[in-house]
Amino acid sequence: MTALPRAERRSRAPYLFVAPAVLLFVAFLAVPIGYAIYLSARGLRLTGKGIFGTREEVFVGLDNYVKTLTDPGFFAGFGRLALYGLISVPLTLGLALLFALLLDHAGSRAKRFSRTAIFIPYAVPGVTASLLWGFMYLPSTSPFSYLTRELGLGEIPFLGAGGIYPSLANIAVWGGVGFNMIIIFTSLRGIPSELYDAARIDGASEWQIAWRVKIPLVAPALVLTGLFSLIGTLQVYGEPTTVKPMTSEISGDWVPLMHIYRDAFVRDDLALASAASVLLAVGTLVVSVLLLKVTQKRAFGGMQ
């Protein structure tokens, strides 16, 4: 074996070590993103061949971006998303924090069981969960509506104009609480118990310990789960798509991703869909960075 000169060996090694990561990144992230950006500047336009003409891919510049940005339907989707997020994100985080604190509380019973019970909905696939809840919302199969009907109160309009947002948010909350709870709970377990002892010696009640010691110390976990929930909200697709056939309330472009799916696969305009998804990706990135910037000092001030 001919050994390479020392210096050369040293200069090559780092590249070898990062090569797998770089290759995977290029193949599965950089190239597809690059292709999406390329595709967003293309469009299918008619050429003379064939009896009706044939649609072929040509360069159309920023046409797709202009079309997306001037489409009120696309922005209406973000409006609906905001309404949905306003319900689902605080509820998911609030419940996750509450459950985590309860589980962490020294006096609580059946912890293992409760933890699993709260976590299990997260293991149910989104489509299954949506179908399950869909059945529970439809007037003639809903146990809730059955009860209210028997009590003479009429049916609950789960899938009506007013009910659709809380109904869909409920599916997300039901599925999301468990996962977020585990993150916060893990973070709680990491707090040194001396801090509690110190607080107790100072005369703090359990309530004060939770409020003044535990919650500030799990702030980084809250920021993380908040970020995940926010991104998750921007990517809402499965629940409304699954529930769509059950109600006239949900249109084909109800949320941005449904709009993108419709353009790409129903209306056969991949280029327009690419432009919209590039915009959505950039938007998500900007919002994520902003959220982190705003919360950075508060959440990580004393930790880093």
Binding site: I33, S140, T141, E249, A264, V266, D268, V289
Partner: protein, 436 residues
């Protein structure tokens, strides 16, 4: 911190990545039928219960052509997947497509003109049916099943309520009011905002022509007088609460159907099979009647649904695929499978054979089932043509009509909105469109 930021970027960017991963290059490499040595293997995409037995029978009788059948989803899914696969250059050799999606597939360059191989089967179909797959002498598929429109109704409940199937749409409105009075929990019919093909059929029956093409110049009539009149008719029924405006075939709807609270489905000959799937217990209770007419004594109906077996442009065995397509839809054994499983064959011989067979299970007690079916099939409107962006029209229609039903805004405005969107889309692509 670093981890969260990276996770954020990955999550954000994967949206774009997922979409890009499903996309493709340019379309349509042309191919010629090659003389194959040894058995040719064909990839075939189709949905529905009739395909498997038909393909098995074909494979048995054709040792030189072996067909591999895959069910990639219903009509809309198959069309969408075929487009993507064609662009990626790995599409199947043959595929089923609904008639209404044919023009958009032709324009996308996905289908092969098989007129060179279909001379011998042209007369096996009525001209109206043959026109569903042939355009200006080019043939883009062999018709498989057709759905002449009929009124499917719950005869048992009709008798209980002492009502008769309406002969005209005016009668339909009267019967609808009658039903509401006799049983306030029951509706004569449903108006489903998502049923684009159904509404198109009803409008065509009233004289509408949604797309026409001459010398590559299109005329779009989605909001023409006849269509608007049909919209106004249903508007009246919805406003007076005489029909139920809600989606079809949801657990909710199926439940009402099973309880006898929905009495009719103005649809097509394939409907008894669909209803049997959700209301098995009502087998024998139902019957079909001719679709109500706009003018008394008329007997014109449109097709709703139905599919053709097409050959793709990317196929390297176009001739073998054409042979397969012809056999699947004209051979006696193939037609027999269709009839047995409740699919109404497109071929004349198949329709003739259907006449002497037993009615579908849902309508098992109706002796004149096939007489009514045959009569409907013989009076379909010729030259129904669909546009190059039917899928766009369908999704625009669904959204506009669902919004109109929800917000109680006029249905005719929803049609106009759909029309404008369809025309704008065609103009963007570069089609010549006459008129507004």
């Amino acid at each position: 911190m670093r981890i969260t930021r990276l996770a954020g970027s990955i999550a954000a960017l994967s949206t774009a990545a997922v979409l890009a991963a499903c996309s493709s290059g340019t379309s349509g490499s042309t191919s010629t039928p090659t003389a194959a040595s040894g058995p040719v293997t064909l990839e075939f995409w189709c949905w529905g219960t009739t395909q498997k037995p038909k393909v098995e029978a074909f494979n048995k009788s054709h040792p030189d052509i072996q067909v591999k059948h895959t069910d990639v989803g219903g009509g809309t899914d198959t069309a969408a997947k075929l487009l993507t696969a064609t662009r990626a250059g790995n599409g199947p050799d043959a595929a089923c497509l609904e008639y209404e999606t044919l023009p958009s597939m032709i324009v996308a360059g996905a289908l092969a003109d098989i007129s060179a191989h279909t001379g011998d089967v042209k007369t096996a179909f009525s001209p109206e049916v043959w026109n569903l797959t042939s355009f200006d002498g080019a043939v883009y598929g062999v018709p498989q099943d057709v759905g002449p429109m009929v009124l499917v109704y719950n005869k048992k409940r009709f008798q209980e309520l002492k009502i008769e199937p309406p002969a005209t749409w005016q009668d339909f409105a009267k019967v609808a009011a009658d039903v509401r009075e006799k049983d306030p929990e029951t509706y004569l019919a449903t108006f489903a905002p998502a049923e684009f093909g159904n509404f198109a059929g009803l409008a065509q029956q009233a004289g509408a022509s949604w797309w026409k093409v001459q010398d590559q110049t299109w005329t779009v009539g989605i909001a023409d007088q006849a269509s608007l009149a049909v919209a106004d008719f249903w508007q009246g029924l919805i406003d007076k609460d005489l029909v139920k405006a809600e989606p079809l075939l949801t657990p909710e709807w199926n439940n009402k159907l099973n309880k006898g609270k929905i009495l009719t489905w103005p649809s097509a000959l394939w409907a008894p099979g669909v209803l049997y799937g959700v209301a098995e217990k009502q087998a024998g209770d139902w019957a079909i009647a001719p679709l109500p007419q706009w003018k008394e004594g008329d007997d014109r109906v449109a097709f709703q649904g139905g599919s053709a077996l097409t050959v793709t442009k990317t196929s390297k065995h176009a001739e073998a695929a054409a042979t397969f397509a012809k056999w699947m839809n004209t051979d006696k054994a193939a037609n027999a499978v269709q009839i047995e499983l409740g699919e109404y064959p497109a071929s004349l011989a198949g329709q003739e054979a259907a006449r002497t067979s037993a009615p579908p299970k849902l309508t098992a007690n109706q002796k004149d089932y096939w007489d009514i079916a045959t009569k409907a099939a013989q009076h379909t409107i010729p030259h129904i043509s669909w546009g190059p962006n039917v899928s766009t029209a369908g999704s625009a229609f669904q959204d506009a009509v669902a919004t109109a039903v929800r917000d109680h805004t006029p249905l005719r405005d929803a049609l106009t909105k759909t029309h404008n969107l369809v025309v704008a889309d065609m103009k963007t692509t570069g089609f010549k469109v006459a008129g507004p």
